[in-house]
Symmetry: C2
Subunit: 436 residues, 2 copies
């Protein structure tokens, strides 16, 4: 007797051959996929009828700041400097652990409802974020954002917080929660800090989540400080390696793309955020052509302002097309790979996640195709990338557990989270005003 049988769905496996079954089944036992095929005759405790639905790997949001959902819409359409200095930082100074818990729970809710089953996060109060992830039933790779600006005392205390997260939360919740070290960026972390982090990541066998080459401003800063561009600088100090998850990677030269490739770095494309903050267009087609498995992420809700990976896929498919005056770059299939298999690899989970294959973890989603904007159905991959939004996700399974069915989240009370998040946000903005 299997645990879950999903039957008669349009199965998008994302396996190495990228098989799509027009009508097929997926069988789950425990937290694992035990069968994927055209017709599977098994009995199961839970049978899910997937007629009219696409069944695909849960999407991987490879870079976000989950608790920043509380800051959604508080400031848009501003220059980066006043945005940070007059809006985001003064609010963040007033953030409390409980805010980060509530914000993370809201973020988990939004991700589940839009088909994301696994994400990489970097922020503060990460043990509280872990609590939220545990409750929500989603999968997360968490890192504490280390910012030390070359201050030895701060370095010590910041790294200690990051290390504590790794020690206490790595492997929590049947392994759904993993951790990384999270040195924020080359302009906020000294070479000494990055060297220490690199050593610790090796010691604990975890990855490193950072931001690299997000803006022209950053490139100028790093050249001023170190006489090299960001990727060159990080390579010169021996920081880069296959364990490095590098958000943004917008301002890159061809030489820097070669370095990222040779070191096995895992870049994450964040098209909406890069457009909203006006940082530029990441050379994703060049990275993909170089054989770099670029992943996809939404960034935080303050610079997006949503965590919808379907919308993010549409932006990813279109941005490089117009930038290059070439409609053939970033085809739908490649973009779906970024949001699934590449994302899993980027988080160091390629063996276990990102495709529907026997032996992999049962993280998958059902998308309802019986919608006007998904009709007629001729090419399901095209529809997922160009026409669907997160609202079309019907069912979400993580680690073998059904955590959303018929758009109803089963792991916690949705309305309560919405109310608590509104209150936390109102209180946070009031504290910021009072602190003026």
């Amino acid at each position: 007797m299997a645990d879950v049988l999903i039957k008669d769905g349009r199965i998008i496996t994302m396996d190495p051959q990228r098989h799509v079954l027009d009508r097929g089944s997926v069988v789950i036992e425990g937290d694992k996929i035990v069968s994927v095929g055209k017709e599977v005759k098994v009995r199961a405790d839970t049978v899910i009828d997937a007629r009219g639905k696409a069944v695909l790997p849960g999407l991987v949001n490879a870079h976000t700041h989950l608790s920043m959902t509380l800051l959604r819409g508080v400031a848009d359409d501003m220059e980066l400097d006043p945005w940070l200095k007059t809006k985001i930082w003064p609010i963040e100074k007033n953030l409390r652990a409980e805010d980060c818990y509530v914000g993370a729970l809201l973020g988990c809710l939004e991700m589940i409802k839009s088909g994301t089953t696994c994400f990489a996060d970097q922020y503060f109060f990460m043990e509280d974020v872990a609590r939220a992830v545990e409750k929500a039933g989603i999968r997360g790779v968490l890192s504490y954002g280390i910012i030390e600006q070359g201050d030895p005392k701060k370095r010590k205390s910041e790294i200690r917080v990051g290390e504590k997260l790794v020690k206490t939360c790595h492997g929590m919740a049947n392994g759904r929660i993993l951790t990384m070290f999270g040195p924020h960026a080359p302009y906020t972390c000294s070479p000494e800090c990055l060297a220490q982090v690199k050593e610790l990541a090796k010691k604990y066998k975890v990855g490193i989540h950072t931001h690299i080459a997000e803006s022209k401003w950053e490139v100028g800063e790093i050249i001023k400080k170190y006489g090299k561009r960001p990727v060159e600088h990080l390579d010169a100090i021996g920081f880069l390696g296959p364990e490095v998850l590098a958000a943004h990677c917008v301002q890159l030269t061809g030489q820097e793309i070669r370095i990222l490739h040779d070191r096995g770095v895992k870049p994450v494309h964040n098209p909406v955020s890069n457009m909203k903050i006006a940082c530029g267009v990441s050379p994703v087609p060049e990275m993909l052509a170089a054989g770099i498995p670029v992943a996809l992420g939404t960034d935080g809700a303050a610079s997006n302002n949503a965590l919808d990976m379907f919308t993010e896929m549409k932006f990813a498919a279109l941005l490089n097309k117009v930038d290059k005056f070439d409609p053939t770059v970033m085809p739908a299939q490649s973009v779906l790979e970024m949001a699934t298999v590449n994302g899993a690899r980027a988080l160091g989970l390629g063996e276990n996640l990102g495709s529907l294959e026997v032996g992999k973890k049962a993280d998958l989603i059902l998308v309802d195709l019986r919608k006007p904007h998904l009709t007629p159905l001729s090419n399901v991959i095209s529809h997922l990338v160009y026409s669907a939004t997160g609202s079309d996700v019907d069912t979400v399974i993580v680690d073998g557990k059904v955590i959303m069915q018929g758009r109803r989240v089963l792991t916690f009370e949705e309305d309560k989270v919405l109310k608590e998040a509104q209150k936390a946000s109102d209180d946070l903005l009031a504290r910021k005003e009072a602190a003026k």
Copy 2:
């Protein structure tokens, strides 16, 4: 006794002062808005509780090809030339009147479900499109796409079809259906054709819906043929005027922007299509700064691949930001204006549509704000542009009639349309294959 009372909603009026009422009401009698205010004590046949919802003018999709929903996803990620010659045109050659009816009904369904209440269309078999619009209860400004390539015989027959549409359909369905002449573009219509169309539009007092300066290829073609760039050429032959609705307007010089402004032309921005076909970035901030009320449109579903004006607003807000490395251009408020008041003006309906004001037509939508991705609510305009999608639309009212409530379309059977559209598309693609 009023007909409809919408109460306790967050009212985004888009009136000249852009008033937003945190809690207010809208009263409808017949097809008109008779009151907008904080608290309205009237009795009404239909009372709609708008708590937790935004109430705003129905969105105006100022450029689309509705029946092309049947071609959604049949060809993506291709160069324009093979896309047209091997995919779109061979399929269109096999289009029948009934296909266009079914495709238009599917398009109406998609638009209603995503909050569009009025649209400008250009395609073939437009009397069948009119039938669909009449049935769906939506508002449309229809034009037949005239393509004559300088052939006098074709010109006569094409213009005759366009004129017949104006004569038979203008003012149908209590005025919900209006018409324009639709000369396709300066590279498919000769100066003689455009001159005749201009005369006829004047005679019938209707607008002219066309495509201008969509691609670099077009600019090259027009320079080769006429020694001038598209807008200069059209101005030189006296074609431009306030009745001209000009889709795309991507490849423009500063001088051409001045011409568009001086002639009162109404450009329509189509960011998703321009990105997908890789035509370029329209200088929308420059046009808006020049005082041109640029409208917004999705283009057809074959080059988008959806008709969701919320997603289109997000693209409009972000594309020019990254293109200019300036996050302050295209703020959310301006983008919402493009999709409402500017769209209404572009279609010649500014007096009657585009804002919630006493005396205007009752075309409005309710957006459910109690969603994870719209929480917390601090800035409703930001949420509508950056976080919402069409799936958040709960209720749609056109011409005073409730045509969708609780996401259930009331004017026709949704499932039936989905099935008919799938069949029509399957048959159409089969006919194309058979015709090879």
